[in-house]
């Protein structure tokens, strides 16, 4: 038996793979709503949808913050997370969120004519901050060498792609009149997500024992059902088919957007749950 055959040992005193259990549903929800809100804002900024931008800001500002605080062990000291941007992606991300909420809010006030215009400067700053929020969580995960599945350059790319896809789909479902422009973009983004998912699994499948164990969890054992039905089926296949054959039908875009969001949330959750720590050493031949 090789290291690969070692079992998942939970919290026992046996040697084996240990499931990551520190970042769970509240953190996955915070990541999901952060990227969804920032993605929606960014796409709305490009398409000049004020309602979309407001919704994006509210989703990030309220839901991401709520789930982050519910995850924290000592929420009353959460402000301290901003103190180490020199080394921590969490700190950098928090600064990004503050900038996103600040510049995004000011941009909206500018658009509504409540404050004087700054000649596009606020648009630029708000867009840049939204891009930071769309990607930093991926960097926070991929920075960790401890969990091999996460330690991949594809994780921040997946954050960006999923975030943009979710943003486009929500906007498409809310404003089907823009379908002519949005449907091709949504199709391309879904295909990007599919390629990223395959690449992520392929890289992990040929990676360290821990990464291989994660792929096994996602595609063959514990989480396979959820991964194939929700992440691949509802999250990619269903929206692609609906958009391809009935892209301008409001009900179809609504169902497609629901599928995309369900797949995206499940991906966020499963990528946390399938993260494993490797056995520190083994005496197996």
């Amino acid at each position: 038996m090789a290291v690969n055959d070692l079992p998942i040992v939970g919290d026992s005193f046996k040697l084996g793979f240990r499931l990551q259990r520190y970042w769970d549903t509240p953190m996955a929800s915070a990541f999901f709503f952060g990227e969804l809100g920032a993605g929606l804002f960014f796409v709305s900024l490009l398409l000049e949808s004020n309602r979309g931008m407001l919704a994006g800001l509210l989703i990030t500002g309220l839901l991401k913050t709520y789930f982050h605080l519910s995850h924290m062990g000592v929420p009353q000291k959460s402000w301290r997370a901003i103190l180490r941007p020199d080394r921590s992606w969490i700190s950098r991300g928090l600064i990004g969120i503050v900038c996103f909420m600040g510049f995004g809010g000011l941009h909206l006030l500018e658009v509504w004519g409540l404050i004087p215009g700054f000649g596009g400067l606020l648009t630029l700053l708000a867009g840049a901050a939204a891009l930071v929020v769309m990607t930093y969580q991926g960097f926070a995960m991929s920075h960790s060498t401890a969990i091999s599945l996460w330690n991949s350059g594809l994780i921040p790319v997946s954050s960006l792609a999923y975030s943009a896809t979710a943003g486009v789909m929500v906007l498409l479902a809310a404003a089907p009149e823009s379908a002519q422009l949005m449907v091709p973009a949504a199709l391309i983004l879904h295909l990007c997500v599919a390629v990223i998912l395959l690449s992520l699994l392929h890289a992990a499948r040929h990676g360290s024992p821990g990464a291989r164990k994660s792929v096994e969890l996602l595609t063959r054992t514990l989480y396979a059902k959820w991964f194939f039905v929700l992440v691949c089926g509802a999250g990619v296949l269903l929206p692609v088919l609906l958009l391809w054959f009935a892209g301008s039908v409001p009900l179809a875009t609504m169902i497609a957007a629901t599928g995309t969001l369900a797949g995206y949330y499940t991906f966020r959750l499963l990528i946390f749950k399938a993260g494993v720590f490797e056995p520190i050493m083994s005496f197996r031949p």
Partner: protein
């Protein structure tokens, strides 16, 4: 300045877990929290079956990933190489826990401090004297019993070990017991491919 580290002699460890109990007592750890564990591995096919015990604790890495990712500055390394967690600064985000390749971080769940070891909601005298050193909700770990080390004593797990399988000392001193053992018997680092440069070595 010393650079503290530990050596585990796997030939000596008998898996009695006295170190685990010693650590829990010294550090007043709540239910379900362990700063050290003795893992067991069985291998081979009957009748040629073997079992080995592998003690684990925080490796006090030279290049500690938990310190690098800590957003609040709660995790820091002392000049003597002991990686510490400041309970006043920790926000309990868990980024150190997912960054540690050795899974050596422990969440000090707030409920554990309220329920007590017996789950009655009433704390024993032992818990009352020990819990104030932690902030409920923080994420912490082994600190090589830094208070004992500062007083010139060995960590609790080392003095509790009945077989001397745990050897603690200054890795910069070529005449210290751990330095000699590493030199003579070739100390192995856990997960060297993670590039964390642990200060805990295994000899077999």
């Amino acid at each position: 300045m010393a650079r503290y580290g530990m050596v585990f002699d796997l030939k000596r460890c008998i898996g009695c877990n006295a170190c685990v109990i010693g650590c829990k007592q010294e550090n007043s750890l709540p239910d379900g929290v362990f700063f050290t564990r003795t893992l067991s591995e069985e291998y081979g096919v009957y009748p040629a079956v073997n079992r080995v015990y592998i003690p684990t604790l925080c490796n006090h890495c030279e290049d500690a990933p938990c310190e690098k990712v800590c957003p609040s500055g709660a995790t820091y390394t002392r000049p003597d190489g002991i990686v510490m967690v400041d309970p006043q600064k920790c926000i309990g985000c868990g980024s150190c826990a997912v960054a540690c390749p050795y899974d050596q971080r422990s969440e000090m769940k707030a409920e554990a401090f309220k329920d007590g070891l017996f789950g009655t909601g009433e704390l024993t005298d032992f818990e009352k004297q020990g819990y104030p050193r932690y902030t409920p909700g923080m994420v912490t770990k082994c600190d090589f019993c830094s208070g004992r080390v500062d007083a010139g004593l060995d960590p609790a797990c080392v003095v509790t070990c009945p077989t001397d399988a745990r050897i603690f000392g200054d890795l910069d001193d070529p005449n210290s017991k751990p330095s000699k053992l590493i030199r003579e018997r070739g100390g192995k680092s856990p997960l060297p491919e993670k590039n964390t440069r642990p200060k805990v070595y295994y000899i077999d």
